[in-house]
Symmetry: C2
Subunit: 284 residues, 2 copies
Amino acid sequence: MPSSGLETVSQSKAFGGVQSVFRHQSVETGTSMRFAAFLPPQAEVAPVPVLWFLSGLTCTEDNFTVKAGAQRIASELGLALITPDTSPRGDGVPDDPDGAYDFGLGAGFYVDATEKPWATHYRMRSYLERELPELVADALPLDMTRQAVSGHSMGGHGALTMALRTSARFRSVSAFAPIVSPLNCPWGHKALTGYLGPDRTAWREYDACALIEDGARVPAILVDQGLADGFLAEQLKPELLEEACAGTGIELTLRRHPGYDHSYFFIASFIEDHLRWHARALAR
Amino acid sequence: MPSSGLETVSQSKAFGGVQSVFRHQSVETGTSMRFAAFLPPQAEVAPVPVLWFLSGLTCTEDNFTVKAGAQRIASELGLALITPDTSPRGDGVPDDPDGAYDFGLGAGFYVDATEKPWATHYRMRSYLERELPELVADALPLDMTRQAVSGHSMGGHGALTMALRTSARFRSVSAFAPIVSPLNCPWGHKALTGYLGPDRTAWREYDACALIEDGARVPAILVDQGLADGFLAEQLKPELLEEACAGTGIELTLRRHPGYDHSYFFIASFIEDHLRWHARALAR
Protein backbone atom coordinates (compact mmCIF):
# COMPACT_ATOMS: atom_id res chain seq x y z
CA MET A 1 0.00 0.00 0.00
CA PRO A 2 2.70 2.60 0.78
CA SER A 3 4.00 4.50 -2.23
CA SER A 4 7.67 4.95 -2.93
CA GLY A 5 9.68 6.40 -0.06
CA LEU A 6 8.01 4.35 2.69
CA GLU A 7 9.71 1.13 3.68
CA THR A 8 7.75 -1.38 5.75
CA VAL A 9 9.67 -2.37 8.90
CA SER A 10 6.97 -4.64 10.33
CA GLN A 11 3.33 -5.45 9.78
CA SER A 12 0.89 -7.42 11.95
CA LYS A 13 -2.81 -7.97 11.77
CA ALA A 14 -4.47 -6.59 14.90
CA PHE A 15 -8.17 -6.40 15.75
CA GLY A 16 -9.10 -6.93 12.12
CA GLY A 17 -6.87 -4.05 10.97
CA VAL A 18 -3.17 -3.76 10.23
CA GLN A 19 -0.50 -2.41 12.58
CA SER A 20 2.60 -1.32 10.65
CA VAL A 21 5.90 0.34 11.35
CA PHE A 22 7.32 2.32 8.44
CA ARG A 23 10.72 3.89 7.80
CA HIS A 24 11.51 6.77 5.45
CA GLN A 25 14.20 9.32 4.73
CA SER A 26 13.15 12.67 6.19
CA VAL A 27 14.08 15.92 4.50
CA GLU A 28 13.37 17.93 7.64
CA THR A 29 15.49 15.90 10.08
CA GLY A 30 18.00 14.68 7.53
CA THR A 31 17.72 11.20 9.03
CA SER A 32 15.89 7.96 8.57
CA MET A 33 12.67 8.27 10.60
CA ARG A 34 10.27 5.57 11.77
CA PHE A 35 6.61 5.84 12.63
CA ALA A 36 3.83 3.40 13.48
CA ALA A 37 0.48 3.35 11.68
CA PHE A 38 -2.63 1.39 12.54
CA LEU A 39 -5.24 1.12 9.82
CA PRO A 40 -8.64 -0.15 10.93
CA PRO A 41 -10.58 -2.58 8.72
CA GLN A 42 -12.75 0.32 7.48
CA ALA A 43 -9.70 1.67 5.62
CA GLU A 44 -10.03 -1.18 3.14
CA VAL A 45 -13.09 0.44 1.62
CA ALA A 46 -12.67 4.20 2.12
CA PRO A 47 -10.29 6.75 3.63
CA VAL A 48 -10.56 6.96 7.41
CA PRO A 49 -10.03 9.80 9.91
CA VAL A 50 -6.72 9.84 11.73
CA LEU A 51 -5.59 10.35 15.32
CA TRP A 52 -1.96 11.40 15.79
CA PHE A 53 -0.44 10.26 19.06
CA LEU A 54 2.75 11.98 20.24
CA SER A 55 4.78 10.10 22.83
CA GLY A 56 6.78 11.18 25.85
CA LEU A 57 10.41 11.34 26.89
CA THR A 58 12.47 8.21 26.10
CA CYS A 59 9.76 6.76 23.85
CA THR A 60 9.91 5.65 20.24
CA GLU A 61 6.99 4.88 17.92
CA ASP A 62 6.79 1.53 19.72
CA ASN A 63 5.62 2.40 23.25
CA PHE A 64 2.11 3.63 22.51
CA THR A 65 1.74 1.04 19.78
CA VAL A 66 2.37 -1.99 21.98
CA LYS A 67 1.27 -0.75 25.40
CA ALA A 68 -1.82 1.47 25.11
CA GLY A 69 -4.30 -1.03 23.70
CA ALA A 70 -5.69 1.64 21.38
CA GLN A 71 -6.10 -0.58 18.31
CA ARG A 72 -9.15 -2.34 19.76
CA ILE A 73 -11.16 0.85 19.96
CA ALA A 74 -9.67 2.36 16.80
CA SER A 75 -10.82 -0.75 14.95
CA GLU A 76 -14.35 -0.38 16.29
CA LEU A 77 -14.46 3.36 15.52
CA GLY A 78 -12.78 3.21 12.11
CA LEU A 79 -9.93 5.45 13.20
CA ALA A 80 -6.33 5.35 11.95
CA LEU A 81 -3.55 5.87 14.50
CA ILE A 82 -0.25 7.49 13.52
CA THR A 83 2.50 7.35 16.15
CA PRO A 84 5.75 9.16 15.28
CA ASP A 85 9.12 8.81 16.97
CA THR A 86 10.10 11.46 19.52
CA SER A 87 13.36 12.70 17.97
CA PRO A 88 15.72 12.18 15.05
CA ARG A 89 18.16 9.33 15.58
CA GLY A 90 21.17 7.82 13.86
CA ASP A 91 24.71 8.63 12.84
CA GLY A 92 25.58 12.28 13.29
CA VAL A 93 22.55 13.17 15.41
CA PRO A 94 23.83 14.82 18.59
CA ASP A 95 22.61 13.69 22.01
CA ASP A 96 22.66 15.20 25.47
CA PRO A 97 26.34 15.36 26.44
CA ASP A 98 25.59 13.46 29.64
CA GLY A 99 23.21 11.04 27.94
CA ALA A 100 20.34 12.39 30.03
CA TYR A 101 16.86 11.08 29.20
CA ASP A 102 15.27 14.52 29.02
CA PHE A 103 17.22 16.14 26.18
CA GLY A 104 18.49 15.00 22.79
CA LEU A 105 17.63 11.49 21.61
CA GLY A 106 14.08 10.52 22.57
CA ALA A 107 13.45 14.08 23.74
CA GLY A 108 12.91 16.26 20.66
CA PHE A 109 10.21 18.26 22.46
CA TYR A 110 8.39 18.79 19.14
CA VAL A 111 10.35 21.94 18.32
CA ASP A 112 12.40 23.24 15.39
CA ALA A 113 15.72 23.84 17.14
CA THR A 114 17.59 27.05 16.34
CA GLU A 115 20.71 26.50 18.44
CA LYS A 116 23.82 24.65 17.34
CA PRO A 117 24.40 21.71 17.11
CA TRP A 118 20.69 20.82 17.38
CA ALA A 119 19.26 22.95 14.57
CA THR A 120 20.46 20.63 11.81
CA HIS A 121 18.47 17.54 12.78
CA TYR A 122 16.06 18.45 15.57
CA ARG A 123 13.18 19.68 13.40
CA MET A 124 10.31 17.67 14.84
CA ARG A 125 7.88 20.57 14.52
CA SER A 126 8.25 20.89 10.75
CA TYR A 127 8.47 17.13 10.42
CA LEU A 128 5.08 16.73 12.11
CA GLU A 129 3.38 19.87 10.82
CA ARG A 130 4.40 19.47 7.19
CA GLU A 131 6.49 16.53 6.06
CA LEU A 132 4.89 13.52 7.72
CA PRO A 133 1.27 14.62 7.09
CA GLU A 134 2.04 15.03 3.39
CA LEU A 135 3.77 11.68 3.31
CA VAL A 136 0.97 9.72 4.98
CA ALA A 137 -1.72 11.56 3.04
CA ASP A 138 -0.03 10.33 -0.10
CA ALA A 139 0.76 6.80 1.03
CA LEU A 140 -2.14 5.70 3.25
CA PRO A 141 -5.96 5.73 2.92
CA LEU A 142 -6.49 8.65 5.30
CA ASP A 143 -9.13 11.36 5.25
CA MET A 144 -6.87 14.32 6.06
CA THR A 145 -9.88 16.62 6.47
CA ARG A 146 -10.57 14.69 9.67
CA GLN A 147 -7.52 14.78 11.94
CA ALA A 148 -7.21 14.71 15.72
CA VAL A 149 -4.17 14.76 17.99
CA SER A 150 -3.29 13.42 21.41
CA GLY A 151 -0.14 12.70 23.36
CA HIS A 152 1.47 11.81 26.65
CA SER A 153 3.69 13.98 28.86
CA MET A 154 6.20 15.64 26.45
CA GLY A 155 3.87 14.37 23.72
CA GLY A 156 0.91 15.97 25.47
CA HIS A 157 2.85 19.22 25.23
CA GLY A 158 3.43 18.45 21.54
CA ALA A 159 -0.25 17.72 20.93
CA LEU A 160 -1.52 20.82 22.74
CA THR A 161 0.96 23.21 21.13
CA MET A 162 0.56 21.79 17.64
CA ALA A 163 -3.24 21.96 17.90
CA LEU A 164 -3.13 25.53 19.23
CA ARG A 165 -0.74 26.69 16.49
CA THR A 166 -2.49 24.86 13.65
CA SER A 167 -6.06 24.75 14.88
CA ALA A 168 -7.52 24.46 11.38
CA ARG A 169 -5.81 21.12 10.96
CA PHE A 170 -7.29 19.30 13.96
CA ARG A 171 -10.90 18.82 14.91
CA SER A 172 -9.96 17.78 18.45
CA VAL A 173 -7.06 17.58 20.87
CA SER A 174 -6.50 15.63 24.07
CA ALA A 175 -3.58 14.75 26.32
CA PHE A 176 -2.48 12.39 29.06
CA ALA A 177 -0.43 13.98 31.85
CA PRO A 178 0.86 16.73 29.55
CA ILE A 179 3.64 19.22 30.20
CA VAL A 180 1.31 22.21 29.94
CA SER A 181 3.94 24.93 30.30
CA PRO A 182 7.62 24.35 29.46
CA LEU A 183 8.19 27.95 30.53
CA ASN A 184 7.32 26.85 34.06
CA CYS A 185 9.04 23.50 34.64
CA PRO A 186 12.59 22.08 34.76
CA TRP A 187 12.10 19.77 31.76
CA GLY A 188 10.96 22.72 29.69
CA HIS A 189 13.72 25.06 30.87
CA LYS A 190 16.39 22.55 29.96
CA ALA A 191 14.92 21.57 26.59
CA LEU A 192 13.96 25.01 25.33
CA THR A 193 17.19 26.63 26.50
CA GLY A 194 19.10 23.92 24.68
CA TYR A 195 17.09 23.87 21.47
CA LEU A 196 16.04 27.55 21.25
CA GLY A 197 18.49 29.52 23.36
CA PRO A 198 17.90 31.70 26.42
CA ASP A 199 15.46 34.22 24.90
CA ARG A 200 12.15 33.16 26.36
CA THR A 201 10.05 35.05 23.86
CA ALA A 202 11.04 32.37 21.36
CA TRP A 203 9.69 29.72 23.72
CA ARG A 204 6.12 30.96 23.74
CA GLU A 205 5.03 29.17 20.58
CA TYR A 206 6.11 25.94 22.33
CA ASP A 207 4.11 26.54 25.50
CA ALA A 208 0.39 25.69 25.51
CA CYS A 209 -0.42 28.18 28.25
CA ALA A 210 1.57 30.98 26.60
CA LEU A 211 -0.06 30.27 23.23
CA ILE A 212 -3.49 30.61 24.84
CA GLU A 213 -2.42 33.81 26.61
CA ASP A 214 -1.25 35.09 23.23
CA GLY A 215 -4.66 34.39 21.70
CA ALA A 216 -4.50 30.87 20.26
CA ARG A 217 -7.76 28.94 20.57
CA VAL A 218 -9.21 25.47 20.14
CA PRO A 219 -12.84 24.63 20.91
CA ALA A 220 -12.13 22.01 23.57
CA ILE A 221 -9.36 20.06 25.31
CA LEU A 222 -9.61 16.74 27.17
CA VAL A 223 -6.84 16.07 29.71
CA ASP A 224 -6.45 13.07 32.01
CA GLN A 225 -3.98 13.33 34.89
CA GLY A 226 -3.06 10.73 37.50
CA LEU A 227 -2.74 12.06 41.03
CA ALA A 228 -0.01 9.52 41.94
CA ASP A 229 2.08 10.77 39.00
CA GLY A 230 5.55 11.51 40.36
CA PHE A 231 6.00 14.39 37.88
CA LEU A 232 2.72 16.13 38.69
CA ALA A 233 3.83 18.92 41.02
CA GLU A 234 7.19 19.82 39.55
CA GLN A 235 6.81 19.24 35.80
CA LEU A 236 3.19 18.87 34.70
CA LYS A 237 1.15 21.44 36.67
CA PRO A 238 -2.26 21.04 35.02
CA GLU A 239 -3.58 23.91 37.14
CA LEU A 240 -1.64 26.27 34.86
CA LEU A 241 -3.69 25.04 31.91
CA GLU A 242 -6.88 25.53 33.90
CA GLU A 243 -5.84 29.12 34.63
CA ALA A 244 -4.87 29.76 31.01
CA CYS A 245 -8.17 28.41 29.65
CA ALA A 246 -10.37 30.26 32.14
CA GLY A 247 -12.51 32.83 30.41
CA THR A 248 -11.14 32.07 26.95
CA GLY A 249 -14.03 29.98 25.69
CA ILE A 250 -11.83 26.89 25.48
CA GLU A 251 -13.82 24.06 27.04
CA LEU A 252 -11.25 22.26 29.17
CA THR A 253 -12.20 18.88 30.60
CA LEU A 254 -9.46 18.08 33.13
CA ARG A 255 -9.98 14.80 34.94
CA ARG A 256 -7.83 14.04 37.98
CA HIS A 257 -7.57 10.34 38.77
CA PRO A 258 -6.57 9.26 42.30
CA GLY A 259 -3.93 6.53 42.42
CA TYR A 260 -2.81 6.61 38.79
CA ASP A 261 0.84 7.21 37.93
CA HIS A 262 2.68 8.37 34.78
CA SER A 263 2.92 4.94 33.13
CA TYR A 264 1.23 3.36 30.15
CA PHE A 265 -1.05 1.50 32.58
CA PHE A 266 -2.59 4.93 33.19
CA ILE A 267 -2.87 5.63 29.45
CA ALA A 268 -4.33 2.18 28.75
CA SER A 269 -6.92 2.71 31.48
CA PHE A 270 -8.34 5.84 29.81
CA ILE A 271 -7.42 5.60 26.12
CA GLU A 272 -10.91 4.37 25.25
CA ASP A 273 -12.47 7.59 26.56
CA HIS A 274 -10.04 9.65 24.47
CA LEU A 275 -10.66 7.73 21.26
CA ARG A 276 -14.42 7.97 21.67
CA TRP A 277 -14.11 11.69 22.43
CA HIS A 278 -12.06 12.25 19.27
CA ALA A 279 -14.38 10.06 17.19
CA ARG A 280 -17.33 12.23 18.17
CA ALA A 281 -15.50 15.38 17.03
CA LEU A 282 -14.35 13.70 13.83
CA ALA A 283 -17.88 12.56 13.00
CA ARG A 284 -19.26 16.08 13.08
CA MET B 1 -0.36 -6.57 51.07
CA PRO B 2 2.34 -9.19 50.31
CA SER B 3 3.58 -11.10 53.34
CA SER B 4 7.24 -11.56 54.11
CA GLY B 5 9.27 -13.04 51.26
CA LEU B 6 7.66 -11.00 48.50
CA GLU B 7 9.39 -7.80 47.52
CA THR B 8 7.48 -5.26 45.43
CA VAL B 9 9.43 -4.28 42.29
CA SER B 10 6.79 -1.99 40.83
CA GLN B 11 3.14 -1.17 41.32
CA SER B 12 0.75 0.82 39.12
CA LYS B 13 -2.95 1.39 39.24
CA ALA B 14 -4.59 0.03 36.10
CA PHE B 15 -8.27 -0.14 35.20
CA GLY B 16 -9.24 0.40 38.82
CA GLY B 17 -7.05 -2.50 39.99
CA VAL B 18 -3.37 -2.82 40.78
CA GLN B 19 -0.66 -4.18 38.48
CA SER B 20 2.39 -5.29 40.46
CA VAL B 21 5.69 -6.98 39.79
CA PHE B 22 7.06 -8.96 42.73
CA ARG B 23 10.43 -10.56 43.41
CA HIS B 24 11.16 -13.44 45.77
CA GLN B 25 13.83 -16.02 46.53
CA SER B 26 12.76 -19.34 45.04
CA VAL B 27 13.64 -22.59 46.78
CA GLU B 28 12.96 -24.61 43.61
CA THR B 29 15.13 -22.62 41.21
CA GLY B 30 17.62 -21.42 43.80
CA THR B 31 17.38 -17.94 42.29
CA SER B 32 15.59 -14.65 42.72
CA MET B 33 12.39 -14.94 40.64
CA ARG B 34 10.04 -12.22 39.44
CA PHE B 35 6.38 -12.47 38.53
CA ALA B 36 3.63 -10.01 37.64
CA ALA B 37 0.27 -9.94 39.38
CA PHE B 38 -2.84 -7.96 38.49
CA LEU B 39 -5.47 -7.67 41.18
CA PRO B 40 -8.86 -6.37 40.03
CA PRO B 41 -10.80 -3.93 42.20
CA GLN B 42 -13.02 -6.79 43.41
CA ALA B 43 -9.99 -8.18 45.31
CA GLU B 44 -10.32 -5.32 47.80
CA VAL B 45 -13.42 -6.93 49.28
CA ALA B 46 -13.04 -10.69 48.78
CA PRO B 47 -10.64 -13.27 47.30
CA VAL B 48 -10.87 -13.46 43.51
CA PRO B 49 -10.33 -16.30 41.03
CA VAL B 50 -7.00 -16.38 39.24
CA LEU B 51 -5.82 -16.89 35.67
CA TRP B 52 -2.20 -17.99 35.26
CA PHE B 53 -0.63 -16.84 31.99
CA LEU B 54 2.56 -18.60 30.87
CA SER B 55 4.64 -16.74 28.30
CA GLY B 56 6.67 -17.84 25.32
CA LEU B 57 10.33 -18.02 24.33
CA THR B 58 12.41 -14.90 25.13
CA CYS B 59 9.67 -13.44 27.35
CA THR B 60 9.78 -12.32 30.96
CA GLU B 61 6.84 -11.53 33.23
CA ASP B 62 6.69 -8.18 31.43
CA ASN B 63 5.55 -9.04 27.90
CA PHE B 64 2.01 -10.24 28.59
CA THR B 65 1.64 -7.64 31.32
CA VAL B 66 2.31 -4.62 29.11
CA LYS B 67 1.24 -5.86 25.67
CA ALA B 68 -1.86 -8.04 25.94
CA GLY B 69 -4.34 -5.52 27.30
CA ALA B 70 -5.78 -8.19 29.60
CA GLN B 71 -6.22 -5.98 32.66
CA ARG B 72 -9.22 -4.19 31.18
CA ILE B 73 -11.27 -7.36 30.96
CA ALA B 74 -9.83 -8.88 34.13
CA SER B 75 -10.97 -5.76 35.96
CA GLU B 76 -14.47 -6.11 34.58
CA LEU B 77 -14.63 -9.84 35.36
CA GLY B 78 -12.99 -9.71 38.77
CA LEU B 79 -10.14 -11.98 37.75
CA ALA B 80 -6.57 -11.90 39.05
CA LEU B 81 -3.77 -12.43 36.52
CA ILE B 82 -0.49 -14.07 37.54
CA THR B 83 2.31 -13.95 34.96
CA PRO B 84 5.53 -15.79 35.87
CA ASP B 85 8.91 -15.47 34.23
CA THR B 86 9.91 -18.15 31.68
CA SER B 87 13.15 -19.38 33.28
CA PRO B 88 15.45 -18.91 36.22
CA ARG B 89 17.93 -16.06 35.74
CA GLY B 90 20.95 -14.59 37.50
CA ASP B 91 24.45 -15.44 38.58
CA GLY B 92 25.31 -19.09 38.14
CA VAL B 93 22.29 -19.95 35.97
CA PRO B 94 23.60 -21.63 32.81
CA ASP B 95 22.43 -20.49 29.37
CA ASP B 96 22.51 -22.00 25.91
CA PRO B 97 26.22 -22.21 25.01
CA ASP B 98 25.52 -20.29 21.79
CA GLY B 99 23.14 -17.85 23.46
CA ALA B 100 20.28 -19.17 21.31
CA TYR B 101 16.81 -17.82 22.09
CA ASP B 102 15.19 -21.25 22.25
CA PHE B 103 17.08 -22.87 25.14
CA GLY B 104 18.31 -21.75 28.54
CA LEU B 105 17.46 -18.23 29.71
CA GLY B 106 13.93 -17.24 28.69
CA ALA B 107 13.29 -20.78 27.52
CA GLY B 108 12.70 -22.95 30.58
CA PHE B 109 9.98 -24.93 28.75
CA TYR B 110 8.13 -25.44 32.05
CA VAL B 111 10.05 -28.63 32.90
CA ASP B 112 12.05 -29.94 35.85
CA ALA B 113 15.39 -30.56 34.16
CA THR B 114 17.21 -33.77 34.99
CA GLU B 115 20.39 -33.25 32.93
CA LYS B 116 23.50 -31.44 34.07
CA PRO B 117 24.08 -28.49 34.31
CA TRP B 118 20.39 -27.58 33.97
CA ALA B 119 18.91 -29.69 36.78
CA THR B 120 20.08 -27.39 39.56
CA HIS B 121 18.13 -24.28 38.56
CA TYR B 122 15.75 -25.17 35.70
CA ARG B 123 12.84 -26.37 37.85
CA MET B 124 10.00 -24.32 36.36
CA ARG B 125 7.53 -27.21 36.67
CA SER B 126 7.87 -27.54 40.43
CA TYR B 127 8.10 -23.78 40.76
CA LEU B 128 4.74 -23.35 39.02
CA GLU B 129 3.01 -26.46 40.29
CA ARG B 130 3.98 -26.07 43.95
CA GLU B 131 6.08 -23.16 45.10
CA LEU B 132 4.52 -20.12 43.41
CA PRO B 133 0.89 -21.19 43.99
CA GLU B 134 1.61 -21.62 47.70
CA LEU B 135 3.37 -18.29 47.82
CA VAL B 136 0.60 -16.29 46.09
CA ALA B 137 -2.13 -18.11 48.01
CA ASP B 138 -0.47 -16.91 51.17
CA ALA B 139 0.35 -13.38 50.06
CA LEU B 140 -2.50 -12.25 47.79
CA PRO B 141 -6.31 -12.26 48.07
CA LEU B 142 -6.83 -15.19 45.67
CA ASP B 143 -9.50 -17.87 45.69
CA MET B 144 -7.26 -20.86 44.91
CA THR B 145 -10.27 -23.13 44.46
CA ARG B 146 -10.91 -21.18 41.26
CA GLN B 147 -7.82 -21.31 39.03
CA ALA B 148 -7.48 -21.25 35.25
CA VAL B 149 -4.40 -21.34 33.03
CA SER B 150 -3.47 -20.01 29.61
CA GLY B 151 -0.29 -19.31 27.70
CA HIS B 152 1.37 -18.42 24.43
CA SER B 153 3.60 -20.60 22.27
CA MET B 154 6.06 -22.28 24.70
CA GLY B 155 3.71 -21.00 27.41
CA GLY B 156 0.75 -22.59 25.61
CA HIS B 157 2.67 -25.85 25.88
CA GLY B 158 3.22 -25.08 29.57
CA ALA B 159 -0.47 -24.32 30.14
CA LEU B 160 -1.75 -27.40 28.32
CA THR B 161 0.69 -29.83 29.97
CA MET B 162 0.26 -28.39 33.45
CA ALA B 163 -3.54 -28.53 33.12
CA LEU B 164 -3.45 -32.10 31.81
CA ARG B 165 -1.10 -33.28 34.59
CA THR B 166 -2.88 -31.42 37.40
CA SER B 167 -6.43 -31.28 36.11
CA ALA B 168 -7.94 -31.00 39.60
CA ARG B 169 -6.20 -27.64 40.04
CA PHE B 170 -7.62 -25.84 37.01
CA ARG B 171 -11.21 -25.32 36.01
CA SER B 172 -10.23 -24.30 32.49
CA VAL B 173 -7.28 -24.12 30.10
CA SER B 174 -6.66 -22.20 26.90
CA ALA B 175 -3.72 -21.33 24.69
CA PHE B 176 -2.55 -18.95 21.98
CA ALA B 177 -0.48 -20.58 19.22
CA PRO B 178 0.76 -23.34 21.54
CA ILE B 179 3.52 -25.84 20.92
CA VAL B 180 1.16 -28.81 21.16
CA SER B 181 3.78 -31.55 20.84
CA PRO B 182 7.45 -31.01 21.72
CA LEU B 183 8.00 -34.64 20.63
CA ASN B 184 7.19 -33.51 17.11
CA CYS B 185 8.96 -30.19 16.55
CA PRO B 186 12.51 -28.79 16.49
CA TRP B 187 11.99 -26.46 19.49
CA GLY B 188 10.79 -29.42 21.53
CA HIS B 189 13.56 -31.77 20.40
CA LYS B 190 16.25 -29.29 21.34
CA ALA B 191 14.74 -28.30 24.68
CA LEU B 192 13.72 -31.72 25.94
CA THR B 193 16.97 -33.38 24.81
CA GLY B 194 18.86 -30.69 26.66
CA TYR B 195 16.82 -30.60 29.85
CA LEU B 196 15.72 -34.27 30.05
CA GLY B 197 18.19 -36.28 27.98
CA PRO B 198 17.61 -38.43 24.91
CA ASP B 199 15.14 -40.95 26.40
CA ARG B 200 11.84 -39.87 24.88
CA THR B 201 9.71 -41.74 27.37
CA ALA B 202 10.70 -39.05 29.88
CA TRP B 203 9.40 -36.40 27.49
CA ARG B 204 5.82 -37.61 27.43
CA GLU B 205 4.69 -35.81 30.57
CA TYR B 206 5.83 -32.58 28.84
CA ASP B 207 3.86 -33.17 25.64
CA ALA B 208 0.15 -32.29 25.57
CA CYS B 209 -0.63 -34.78 22.82
CA ALA B 210 1.29 -37.61 24.51
CA LEU B 211 -0.37 -36.86 27.85
CA ILE B 212 -3.79 -37.19 26.20
CA GLU B 213 -2.71 -40.39 24.45
CA ASP B 214 -1.60 -41.69 27.84
CA GLY B 215 -5.01 -40.96 29.33
CA ALA B 216 -4.86 -37.42 30.77
CA ARG B 217 -8.10 -35.49 30.41
CA VAL B 218 -9.53 -31.99 30.81
CA PRO B 219 -13.13 -31.12 29.98
CA ALA B 220 -12.36 -28.50 27.33
CA ILE B 221 -9.56 -26.58 25.63
CA LEU B 222 -9.75 -23.27 23.77
CA VAL B 223 -6.95 -22.62 21.27
CA ASP B 224 -6.49 -19.63 18.96
CA GLN B 225 -3.98 -19.91 16.12
CA GLY B 226 -3.01 -17.33 13.51
CA LEU B 227 -2.64 -18.65 9.99
CA ALA B 228 0.10 -16.12 9.13
CA ASP B 229 2.16 -17.40 12.08
CA GLY B 230 5.64 -18.17 10.78
CA PHE B 231 6.03 -21.05 13.26
CA LEU B 232 2.75 -22.75 12.41
CA ALA B 233 3.85 -25.56 10.10
CA GLU B 234 7.20 -26.49 11.62
CA GLN B 235 6.77 -25.89 15.36
CA LEU B 236 3.14 -25.50 16.42
CA LYS B 237 1.10 -28.07 14.42
CA PRO B 238 -2.32 -27.62 16.03
CA GLU B 239 -3.63 -30.48 13.91
CA LEU B 240 -1.75 -32.86 16.20
CA LEU B 241 -3.83 -31.61 19.13
CA GLU B 242 -7.00 -32.08 17.08
CA GLU B 243 -5.97 -35.68 16.37
CA ALA B 244 -5.06 -36.30 20.01
CA CYS B 245 -8.36 -34.95 21.32
CA ALA B 246 -10.55 -36.79 18.79
CA GLY B 247 -12.73 -39.36 20.49
CA THR B 248 -11.41 -38.59 23.97
CA GLY B 249 -14.30 -36.49 25.20
CA ILE B 250 -12.07 -33.40 25.43
CA GLU B 251 -14.03 -30.57 23.85
CA LEU B 252 -11.40 -28.78 21.75
CA THR B 253 -12.31 -25.38 20.30
CA LEU B 254 -9.53 -24.63 17.81
CA ARG B 255 -9.99 -21.34 15.98
CA ARG B 256 -7.79 -20.61 12.98
CA HIS B 257 -7.50 -16.88 12.19
CA PRO B 258 -6.44 -15.82 8.68
CA GLY B 259 -3.78 -13.13 8.58
CA TYR B 260 -2.72 -13.19 12.24
CA ASP B 261 0.93 -13.82 13.15
CA HIS B 262 2.72 -15.00 16.32
CA SER B 263 2.95 -11.56 17.97
CA TYR B 264 1.25 -9.96 20.93
CA PHE B 265 -0.98 -8.08 18.48
CA PHE B 266 -2.55 -11.50 17.84
CA ILE B 267 -2.88 -12.20 21.58
CA ALA B 268 -4.32 -8.74 22.25
CA SER B 269 -6.88 -9.26 19.49
CA PHE B 270 -8.35 -12.37 21.13
CA ILE B 271 -7.48 -12.14 24.84
CA GLU B 272 -10.97 -10.88 25.66
CA ASP B 273 -12.53 -14.09 24.34
CA HIS B 274 -10.15 -16.16 26.47
CA LEU B 275 -10.80 -14.25 29.67
CA ARG B 276 -14.56 -14.45 29.20
CA TRP B 277 -14.25 -18.18 28.46
CA HIS B 278 -12.26 -18.74 31.64
CA ALA B 279 -14.58 -16.53 33.69
CA ARG B 280 -17.55 -18.68 32.66
CA ALA B 281 -15.75 -21.84 33.82
CA LEU B 282 -14.62 -20.17 37.04
CA ALA B 283 -18.16 -19.01 37.83
CA ARG B 284 -19.57 -22.53 37.76
